[in-house]
Symmetry: C2
Subunit: 278 residues, 2 copies
DNA sequence: CTTTGTGAAAACATTCACAGCC
DNA sequence: GGCTGTGAATGTTTTCACAAAG
């Protein structure tokens, strides 16, 4: 039910719980109640919990034992009301008038995010990015040991990268089953990505982090998140454009209502379906 | 205005327009009207427009000249209503009963995203990830030429990576101003990131893509997006946990509506502020 | 008849503001 | 006094469903 047909995968969107199918398939029972707990946490809040966890780890290393919602929120870059709301989804672990105990909060967030269990990771596509991912210290240190690497290139077969020998993509199914890989990272070019994805799924992998610029087709019980650098850049580009346009129109507006549209290119006059200049 | 204090930066969240500050600072004029156009496009829709653009480019290469909302939506992994709504934000460029002309749509989305102008990119931190980014073909091919690389390591000074010589981070301000860099990519470890960010901003960079696991402090007129691999993994982990838990509770619930709440822990009755069981 | 474009409704997420507890 | 936890209010995004257009 997660990440099926509609909804752009991972990366940017992050809205909608992705659980519409569950509601549809049993119209008799309104709310299954028992399986609500985890589902009840908004997708957006889950993402922030991961950020809080990192910030809390920092506090913990500095031997800070207690934080207020205000402090934690500031460090995480959110406002305190949102932080308290997010934490309320996982339970009440604060003390009124005092704040939260860092170690308790770390434990509860880890439990909620399922980090008490190790998730072994496979990286497919050992090019520039795959290399970087295989060597990325952030994975193992946070409970995500990289336990398999794959590439199409036979020359790489057996070559160790970051201490792990690369295997051929033909072995994906076998190796993933054997090592109980739960998370597959796709760092291949676009062409191979769907095929790789299919093999990962056949190997029992239920979560995929996709760096390839394609929309993957997966069964309903597989979760996909997408990181697309080009998309990120284009979103930034949009904001540059908006800012420049704002600045341009502000110039025209400040000096009273003379022409104002002087430096604006010709095709500018109809944007967004609204005629801006008569 | 964009990405200030509240709101987790980039990456996950992507909600809220981020323009609250603009509204606050001029309480006299209710809606400035002229600077509305681009702002009116929801953040989430902007991200999807970038995806549509990639899919459309694919169609274009296959010499497909016309697509319906249904086809395009399927290829982009969204539902057609959402796609049409998204496209409606940038104008009416379809033909009822027929569909959209691929080339027209590509042009309009590029214009909306500000891709008619080149954005030169600087990458800071030439480690594993920085290397991958410097060599990443997706940037230049999509109008984002990488025009500067920086690293702290003096040994790298002058060494070409992907054809571009690495410069020392001390030169960031100077080089960014000189080459009119608009987008800065931070691929350094956490420690250096804020300092690097400050220099990029001093060098006139108004958009930052941050791979370092820290929340950056920036002026209101700088846009930050964050890509955090550990966070992505943890979100996936959460979904694994939720699925397993669902499966476990489903075992207890399948056998008809006898007690039904049997295996539910005590704290279950109040979730999300609503009493689930009477 | 097919498909777009879009108001209106529903779902979702954030912020407010304050009761309740320490 | 200070801070958490949370209903209620507000704002945003998605979905529905259908009139308008070719």
């Amino acid at each position: 039910m997660t990440s099926h047909g509609d909804d752009v995968q991972g990366g940017e969107d992050r809205s909608g719980t992705g659980d519409r199918a569950a509601a549809k398939e049993s119209p008799d029972v309104e709310v299954p109640a028992a399986r609500e707990r985890a589902r009840a946490i908004p997708e957006a809040a889950v993402a922030r919990l991961a950020v809080y966890l990192r910030v809390l780890s920092g506090f913990d290393e500095e031997s800070v034992t207690t934080v207020s919602s205000e402090e934690l929120a500031a460090a995480a870059g959110v406002n305190s009301a949102k932080l308290r709301k997010d934490l309320s989804y996982i339970g009440s672990y604060g003390t009124r008038g005092v704040g939260y105990e860092v170690s308790v909060l770390i434990g509860q967030i880890e439990r909620t995010l399922g980090l008490t269990r190790k998730h072994s990771v496979a990286v497919v596509g050992i090019g520039n990015l795959g290399h970087a991912l295989a060597n990325y210290g952030g994975f193992p240190s946070r409970g995500f040991p990289v336990s398999a690497l794959f590439d199409l290139d036979p020359d790489l077969d057996g070559v160790p990268v970051g201490g792990i020998p690369v295997r051929h993509v033909d072995d994906i199914v076998e190796v993933c089953q054997e090592r109980e890989v739960t998370i597959g990272v796709i760092a291949t070019p676009a062409q191979g990505a769907q095929e790789v994805c299919d093999r990962l799924v056949a190997g029992g992998v239920s979560c995929i982090l996709n760096f390839a610029p394609v929309v993957l087709q997966v069964p309903d019980d597989v979760e996909v998140r997408k990181v697309d650098l080009a998309v990120e850049m284009q979103i930034l580009s949009f904001h540059v454009a908006r800012r420049q346009q704002d600045a341009a129109t502000a110039n025209g507006a400040d000096l009273g209502p003379l022409d104002g549209a002087g430096p604006v290119p010709a095709e500018m006059d109809s944007v967004n379906g609204m005629v801006v200049r008569p």
